[in-house]
């Protein structure tokens, strides 16, 4: 068992990536995720790895594409405006079925926006970000420990399914300091016979490619990729439930919003309202089944978000619009308070308790 150490969320991601076997980091500075780059700049040269400050996010993600083509665990990190630039590469990674880990420590937008925490890249992340039919596995940590654990999980899932995994965090998660336990004990690795490492004149050449000019073939590739996505949806959806056994008012929130919401749920219970919380840990695949099952008992759902309301659409879809879904939100870098969430729960309960 490893000892607990006090770490910032961003640093926990960086150290966990190293424990997961990642020796290649490419990035471009942007607040509020710069600690990841700074950590990598210090550590990578000492352990024979690569830290490279690229000329742009576009270049960084394409360097990731190159290193992933060679079969290595590789990552980049950024924040919202930078993620828009990386979207080109995310689409190409998907089209070439290359694994990678990408971290988005979100800030308020659109445009240059601000540097305070936000969850307003939910659509961009869960719908893929770039052009074309594809998904990424999107992981939403709600503690520094999870920043570390989900980083390792992200590398494993990315390799297992040949997809990009994204850590979708926010400024609070990145800056927050908490004790974490780090361990490389059970990290899984996967064979990559498809990688380009040189034929050594012993096999036919490997080709990493997303071009396919014959529509019948391109369609088949999309079908095959979506078969894999189906497996991911069936096997990898994760969430935490809190006080959900008899919940009539179901709060749905991830990341920092889930921490705030938990306090509100406890306060509601103290007032006699049967509130509960579902905290999606994977935003794609979305934990649809858990939500649908909850709709049996729940009278209403409340989506708590640091955005103008994006996940709320997935909540409505998951429960097939069987119950009303209310939005409790702040935007632009603001965070809802437990009181605000509690007020929304009380509103949903309509004073009847």
């Amino acid at each position: 068992m490893a000892d607990k150490v006090l770490m910032k969320g961003n640093e926990a991601i960086a150290e966990a990536a190293i424990l997961a076997g990642c020796r290649h980091y490419f990035g471009y500075p942007i607040t509020p995720q710069t600690e990841i780059a700074a950590y990598m700049a210090k550590r990578m040269p000492k352990i024979g790895g690569t830290f490279l400050q690229a000329e742009s996010e576009v270049a960084a993600i394409n360097m990731v594409y190159g290193t992933s083509s060679a079969g290595y665990r590789v990552m980049t990190s950024s924040s919202s405006p930078g993620m828009s630039l990386k979207s080109e590469g995310l689409s190409y990674l998907a089209g070439s079925d290359l694994p990678a880990l990408v971290v988005n420590v979100q800030r308020g937008g659109p445009g240059l926006g601000g540097i305070q925490p936000s969850q307003s890249d939910y659509f961009q992340a869960t719908r893929g970000g770039g052009h074309g039919d594809y998904h990424m596995i999107v992981l939403a940590p709600a503690s520094v420990q999870e920043m570390a654990d989900l980083t390792i999980t992200g590398f494993e899932l990315a390799d297992k399914y040949r997809v990009t995994a994204m850590i979708l965090a926010d400024g609070t998660m990145g800056q927050m300091m908490e004790p974490v336990e780090l361990s490389a004990d059970s990290v899984k690795t996967f064979d990559k016979p498809w990688a380009v490492t040189g034929t050594k004149m012993q096999r036919k050449h490997n080709i990493i490619n997303s071009l396919s000019l014959v529509p019948e073939e391109l369609e088949q590739q999309n079908f095959a990729r979506y078969e894999r996505y189906k497996t991911i949806e069936e096997n990898e959806a994760r969430c935490e439930t809190f006080m959900m056994d008899d919940a009539e008012y179901c709060v749905v929130a991830f990341g920092i919003a889930a921490r705030v919401s938990k306090n509100a749920v406890i306060a509601a219970r103290e007032k006699g309202i049967k509130a509960g919380l579902i905290r999606p840990i994977t935003l794609w695949p979305f934990p649809k089944k858990t939500l649908l099952d909850a709709a049996d008992k729940a009278k209403a759902f409340i989506s708590v978000e640091l955005s103008m309301g994006q996940m709320i659409e997935d909540v409505e879809l998951a429960i097939r619009c069987q119950r009303p879904v209310m939005l409790c939100n702040r935007a632009g870098g603001m965070i809802p308070t437990p009181e605000q969430v509690l007020a929304k729960i009380e509103e949903a309960a309509g004073g009847k308790m």
Binding site: E55, Y65, G66
Partner: protein, 253 residues
């Protein structure tokens, strides 16, 4: 016309290039360098977006297809991961000098230990003949139908000259493949650009003046003449930078 034996590091897949297009000759020169140096088994090529996009089917070594302009970044990722691999990019002028200019300049200034083959045909071939960053003043293209007007769209970019202002890169040269003499010289220079990488010297770029008879609206013969009459005067051939040779010359003094 020059007839070569097919180099071993080219596959049997027939090239799709238009008749008289010199992309094919340049493929052979690259493959010959790989053969001559015996590096096929450890070479990885990065194909561009452009007429050479399907180069991944033609070179027998491992291949990666990059996004438009990003080949040097992809090559950087490959080379940093496996420094024992020999990594080259093959890029057109739109790819390298327009959309990918940042990746070009920065991989050069980092002296990234890769080999860049830059095919300058002064046009966007693949998309049907639009103006390129290297299209000549007055050149008629689909998007400069009255001729490239330097007052409104600026002047062509001379990539070798521009990169030569950097301290980073090891080797910068411009060659042509429009006659036997130039082809023989191009063969030597391309081989050197790979040797530099084998010897860990760093970023080596060879700009190859190429033709696009289809979109220039010329016969293959006329296109070769146009290279002599218009392209080479604007883009003089020669070695623009050879750091190791410069150091050697200083030591010899």
């Amino acid at each position: 016309m020059i007839v070569f034996d097919k180099p071993k590091s080219l596959t049997d897949t027939p090239l799709h290039y238009c008749p008289g297009c010199t992309h094919g000759i340049i493929h052979r020169l690259v493959a010959q360098a790989i053969d001559d140096l015996g590096i096929e088994g450890r070479t990885i090529g990065v194909a561009p977006v452009g007429c050479a996009v399907m180069a991944y089917n033609y070179f027998a070594c491992d291949m990666v297809e990059a996004a438009h302009g990003r080949a040097p970044a992809v090559a950087t990722g490959l080379k940093r991961a496996n420094p024992d691999n020999i990594v080259f990019t093959y890029q057109g002028d739109g790819d390298l000098a327009s959309i990918g200019m940042a990746e070009t300049v920065h991989s050069a200034t980092r002296n990234e230990n890769i080999t860049v083959i830059f095919v300058n045909n002064a046009i966007y071939g693949m998309t049907g003949g639009q103006m390129a960053p290297t299209s000549l003043p007055g050149q008629v293209t689909q998007t400069s139908p009255y001729g490239r007007d330097v007052k409104t769209v600026g002047y062509p970019i001379r990539v070798c000259e521009l990169l030569s202002t950097l301290d980073g890169p090891e080797f910068i040269a411009r060659v042509a493949v429009n006659n036997v003499k130039n082809i023989n010289n191009a063969r030597k220079i391309i081989k050197k650009a790979f040797e530099n990488q084998i010897n860990n010297k760093g970023f080596s770029i060879v700009e190859v003046i190429s033709t696009c008879p289809t979109n220039w609206g010329m016969t293959p013969e006329k296109a070769l003449e146009w290279v002599d009459e218009k392209m080479i005067p604007y883009y003089p051939l020669g070695v623009y930078k050879d750091r190791s040779a410069e150091i050697q010359a200083k030591e010899d003094k």
